[in-house]
């Protein structure tokens, strides 16, 4: 097979530039294989994260030819002719070369109020298959954070990181909101503090998800609709008044440890 030129971003927080590496392309290789060959032959100090090489750990997320991809799942022969550009995820601060500091996501993960089930009934909790299946899609997330990386709300506007959880955590909020045993009401939280309204549903998160989770259709839009139920729908408000159903107060919905 012909040679391939890899344009790889080399640098750290003090700056960086592209370096070109030209090497033979082997049949069946993925981008991560080529990166490893460069480490083994030309640049032993080239930094990249990886772990499973099977698209299940999410560690090797980077941007290949400008698009967020898992390097271990991107086949070289599927890329167009010419140099292959590999850069770190743009949304997060660089540590070195292809490795970024994704701690923003850990901070947002800590902020998610946990599941709050009712007291354990006799015989234990029961959850039916219909309800299990609904949340199961969201459990496929491997936390590669490519959806966070591609989301323009924080990719292009750093200041929004203070008040925007991002698509990965909106699927977590949606999963909890749809959980039949959960008693917390997170609608005000996702509207006020987690910035659900910042999402303008351009669906890039769904496009890059390696697990093909329908992030926008099945999580973000249903969450937006639930926020409409609570805040922007006078008919729903009237219905709650007539049926004497109220939203849970912050005190009632306070975070409690799971049993």
């Amino acid at each position: 097979m012909a040679d391939v030129t890899m344009r790889i971003w080399r640098g750290d927080s003090s700056g960086g530039d592209f370096e070109n590496y030209t090497l033979a392309q082997n049949e069946g290789e993925v981008v991560l294989d080529v990166i490893h060959r460069i480490q083994a032959t030309e640049a032993p100090d080239l930094a990249c994260r990886w772990n499973c090489k099977a698209g299940k750990c999410g560690s090797c997320a980077a941007e290949v030819n400008g698009k967020p991809r898992l390097m271990c799942m991107t086949r070289m022969e599927d890329l167009p002719e010419g140099p292959v550009t590999v850069t770190p995820m743009k949304t997060f601060p660089i540590i070195r070369d292809l490795v970024t500091d994704v701690s923003f996501n850990y901070a947002m993960a800590e902020k998610v109020p946990a599941l709050l089930p009712p007291p354990m009934p006799e015989g234990g909790y029961r959850m039916f298959q219909e309800d299990v299946e609904r949340g199961q899609e969201f459990r496929k997330c491997i936390e590669c954070f490519m959806c966070q990386d591609v989301c323009h709300v924080i990719r292009d506007h750093e200041d929004n990181k203070q008040h925007y959880a991002g698509p990965r955590f909106f699927i977590r909020y949606a999963e909890l909101e749809m959980h039949p045993l959960d008693q917390n009401d997170r609608r005000e939280l996702v509207r006020e503090e987690m910035g659900l309204g910042y999402c303008n549903i351009t669906k890039c998160c769904t496009e890059v998800c390696p697990e093909h989770i329908h992030i926008t259709d099945n999580a973000i839009i249903p969450l937006k609709e639930r926020v409409v139920d609570a805040n922007y729908d006078p008919v729903a408000w009237l219905g709650r008044k007539i049926r004497r159903r109220t939203k849970r107060t912050p005190a009632e919905a306070a975070v409690q440890p799971a049993p």
Binding site: W9, D12, G15, E63, N65, G66, K67, P68, T85, T87, P88, K90, F92, P93, I94, T100, D101, F104, Y106, A107, E110, K111, P113, A114, F128, D131, V150, H152, V153, R155, D156, H157, E158, D159, N160, K161, H179, P180, N184, E193, M194, G195, G197, C199, N200, I201, T202, K203, C204, E207, H214, D217, I221, P222, K224, E225, V228, Y232, P250, V255
Partner: protein
């Protein structure tokens, strides 16, 4: 309810990797926004022109037909042509009757989740495509006026349902050909297809899916809502297709009725 206090602090402003360019994408990412701009602009120009025409929107008993353009149905103004009038009419309205009603289907499409995705990308460049920098220095999304009004989508959905009922009624009575009895013409099939596509666009809508069953916490406790939700979910997955098909076909329906009403085309009877 408030967020859990996080021990990991969000640090802003770290140095980002990669060059400071709008995008490194090498594919033709701009094709989709260009097509969206072309189709939506063409539709807006045509529908505005058609709405202000105030003629050739009804084919009546003089040619044994009962076809009305979807842009003018229901025809609620006193100046509607004979035969096209709905039961109720605004007297004194001198402008085109279409201007009375188009805000509702227009609002439904304007606040539709799919169209929002399309025009935010194509017209507002926010962002123009995935992993391409958006064109704005600051961004507040749908948190402030006027974009916070997008949350009214479900009300336009309700209005859209009423219009679907009326347009379905128009399609059914089009089979009744004054002076000839029942029959099927190209025009009746056009109106019927238009009504079917509008129904598919409406019931595949995200707000519909939520209102019919998506809002419940437990499907087990609401088996009928679950069945409806399960029926709507695959339709919702192809909402985009229905959005484009119904948009194009509603314009084509108006074109067809306009051509027949103006005498440029004959509405052929099939059987």
């Amino acid at each position: 309810m408030t967020a859990v206090e996080s021990s990991t602090k969000v640090v802003l402003g770290g140095t980002r990797g990669g060059p400071d360019v709008a995008t490194l994408r090498q594919d033709r990412w701009w094709i989709q926004p260009v097509i969206t701009v072309a189709v939506l602009t063409a539709f807006v120009i045509y529908s505005t022109w058609a709405a202000f025409q105030n003629r050739y929107y009804y084919v009546g008993a003089d040619v044994h037909r009962d076809l009305i353009s979807p842009f003018y149905s229901p025809c609620l103004a006193s100046n509607c042509v004979p035969g096209a009038k709905a039961g109720f009419a605004f007297s004194g309205w001198t402008l085109s009757p279409a201007l009375l009603i188009l805000i509702f289907p227009l609002g439904f499409r304007l606040t539709c989740y799919y169209y929002r995705r399309s025009y935010y990308r194509a017209f507002w460049w926010s962002p123009p495509s995935c992993a391409v920098s958006d064109a704005h220095g600051s961004y507040s999304g749908e948190t402030r006026f006027p974009l916070i009004m997008q949350n009214l989508h479900r009300y336009f959905f309700y209005a859209g349902l009423a219009f679907n009922v009326l347009l379905t009624y128009d399609a059914i009575i089009a089979f009744r050909q004054p002076g000839l009895g029942l029959g099927v013409t190209v025009g009746t099939l056009v109106l019927l297809t238009n009504a079917v596509l509008l129904w598919l666009y409406s019931i595949s809508c995200h707000a519909c899916r939520h209102l019919c069953g998506g809002h419940v916490k437990s499907f087990k406790a609401h088996p009928i809502r679950y069945r409806i939700w399960k029926f709507l979910t695959p339709l919702n997955a192809i909402h985009m297709n229905f959005a484009w098909a119904s948009l194009v076909f509603v314009a084509l329906t108006d074109v067809y009725v306009r051509l027949v009403a103006s005498g440029a085309l004959t509405d052929y009877k099939l059987f």
